[in-house]
Amino acid sequence: MLKSEDMSRMTISGHKKELDSLSNLLDDNQLVHLVDYNNADEGFKIGASLSYGSRTSEILVKLRSVIKLLEVSPNPPESLKLSSDIEKEISDLDSIASQAHELKDKQRDCDRRIDDLVASLDQVEMFSGLDLDLKYLSGYESMKVFTGRIGEDVDTSVLDSDLEIIRFDETIIVFCPKDDVDSTERGLLDLGFRSIDVPQIEGDPSIVESKINSDLAQLKNERDSIDHEIEALAKRHGDWLVSCEEHYTALSEKSSLPLKLATTDNMFVLDGWVPSKSVSNLQQALQKLDVYYEVEDGMESEPPIKLDNPGPMKPFEMFTKLYSTPKHWEFEPTAIIFITYPLFFGLMVGDAGYGLAYVLFAQYLIGKFSHSEGLVSLCKILRAAGFSTVFFGTFIYAEAFGKSFYEIGELIGFNSFLFAEHYGPAFDVPLIDHHGEAWYLPIHKFSPYGAQLMLLSSVVIGFFHVSLGLILGFINEMKHHDLKHALYAKMSFLLILWGGVIALVSVVGLLPNVGQTLGIVVMLTGLSLAVVGEGIVGILEFPTVFSNVISYARIGAIGLSDYGLAFTVNYISLKMLVPMGPVGIIAAIFILFIGHLTVFTLGIIGTGINSLRLQYVEFFTKFVQGGGTLYDPFGYNRKYTKENEVQP
């Protein structure tokens, strides 16, 4: 928590014949993050894959092509397949592959024939009004037949009267002696004639047409049955193919171990990182092999980063990784986002009804997509945000779906505790004019005081959040550089911010007047530190801390606008439509559903992104530099299969 796990650097060396068992061992343990050998030292070169590597890749290529052909999509695993079974059954792959290819060829052939038929159908349809065998439209020695389209109202009498002309609809057929071809063609083109080829089919057009249509129907049936066969094949072998693919991917990764090592003709050297607390486990395992290993602390170089957070915080690591993997000397911010992300989200939506909906929605998705790690993390984050929303919605705002608990309480005839108009002791907020009234919880968002309080408190939260970021940044700089750097880069802005706030708070009368001078002095001290440290850029960056703090006003603003939307939906449906009678009630239900669904979705998109943005733009930029390498140990994480014997 707050810090990535300690890593130890480990080198393993030995004879190449140990590589097989070493790769099995490393794959089992999944502890060593390998540092790729870069081929820089004389006498050492990058190794070649293990003996079973090429066979594995061959099978893998075949497997993947079949999976792609059959469009297999992975299902959640039901039972784990044993690797020994897969090795035995893999001989079936060839027959499945040939079946798949055969079916795909048939499908393609079918498609081609369907295309041909559709094309000739288009042609024949042109002549469907013609009471003449199509074979008479071509093949003359002394005559040329023009076939094509022409405007229905075009007068063809201007053409040579010797010509035999058949017209129906837009189709025109002109029988023309060979000698007159040129002049006739010109005449026709002048009239806007567009030539169309005669289909090379014999028979009466209408008969031909119906035959093509029946052929087409038959082919489409055939095509459907091929599709069904492909689907059936995919269904029958899909799960098997997916587990095989996983097994051979794992094997292929294992066989590629030497590609990351430095080797000589007979020896190898492995360089990698191991979490310090697992070193003894690995050492114990390595004793079974005939290899030499050495472990050193090595934190001065750049170890890979293994984020180390307890269970409930784990999903939030996703946000940290999405920003950038922190370096090992930096604060690891996951634990802080775990608190602030749901906090901001809850403050923004602040509605028990929507909160509960988010919790249930997230829970449903977690159950449904349990095999997709990323989605599950995202849903767990949404669930945490939902819980926080329920908390704020119940105790601070006392409202559900834009209706206050008090209004709901009046409907059900219960107006005590949270359902009372006020609860809790009276309180007083400085800076906001109370007009002599005492305040109680819950806060009504659309009362002028409520809106002021929301905006003011979000800016105050912003002030503390940005200060925390700067303090963490200060500690980071201390660790990585020295006190001087930390003072210039972080303390300067912290002083500017605090000085500014002290001055402002004294101006509005919350602190004695001396605070104004004090604040300005503090601010100028900070500014001079920034200028000394960063030069003119320090002056340019001077206002950013304040704009960062003001940016938090969005917490209150989004809270108000979300409530405004829900309020409007309720007003339109309950106040305007319901009194209009039965039709109005149906319309009201419709509006209620669509409206609240919109607010619900906007909550996820708008509020979710804005809460994240506050972390990334205003908070992380103060102390996370990032650019670390994520810890990715050698070995494949099997989901569908289980290894149960040493490789062939």
Partner: protein, 124 residues
């Protein structure tokens, strides 16, 4: 005149009409009933001035949020399209893209703060 110019003229006219609104509506409020109004002219005038001041404050507040929103939108549209392009090229650009898109958002928050100040501090 082309379409764009028409639009500008229309917008200016609307704006002027908007500015006149508080004064006009305040004048309306001034004379709810002819005879009574004459009786206490001074108080009525002061009342009217108060109302028209409130109206101008409301317009100012609306303009602060609205214009800041337009500015943010203009900036975000360019950054956003560039960011989508960058993400399409490489998924790793997503976070940076998000941050860049988010930067001008602060402008509209400034607008919001100004309008909140206008309404809550000046309008109180």
């Amino acid at each position: 005149m082309n379409g764009k110019q028409n639009l500008y003229v229309l917008a200016t006219m609307l704006f002027v009409a908007l500015l006149a609104m508080p004064a006009v509506s305040a004048a309306d409020a001034e004379n709810p009933d002819g005879e009574e109004a004459v009786a206490d002219d001074n108080i009525n005038t002061v009342e009217a001035a108060k109302w028209s001041a409130k109206g101008y404050i409301a317009i100012g507040a609306g303009l602060a949020v609205g214009l800041a929103g337009i500015g943010t939108g203009l900036a975000q549209s360019n950054i956003g399209s560039a960011a989508v392009g960058a993400v399409a090229e490489d998924d790793k650009n997503f976070t940076n893209g998000l941050i860049f898109v988010a930067i001008p958002e602060t402008v509209v928050i400034f607008g919001l703060v100004i309008s909140a100040l206008l309404i809550f501090v000046m309008g109180a």
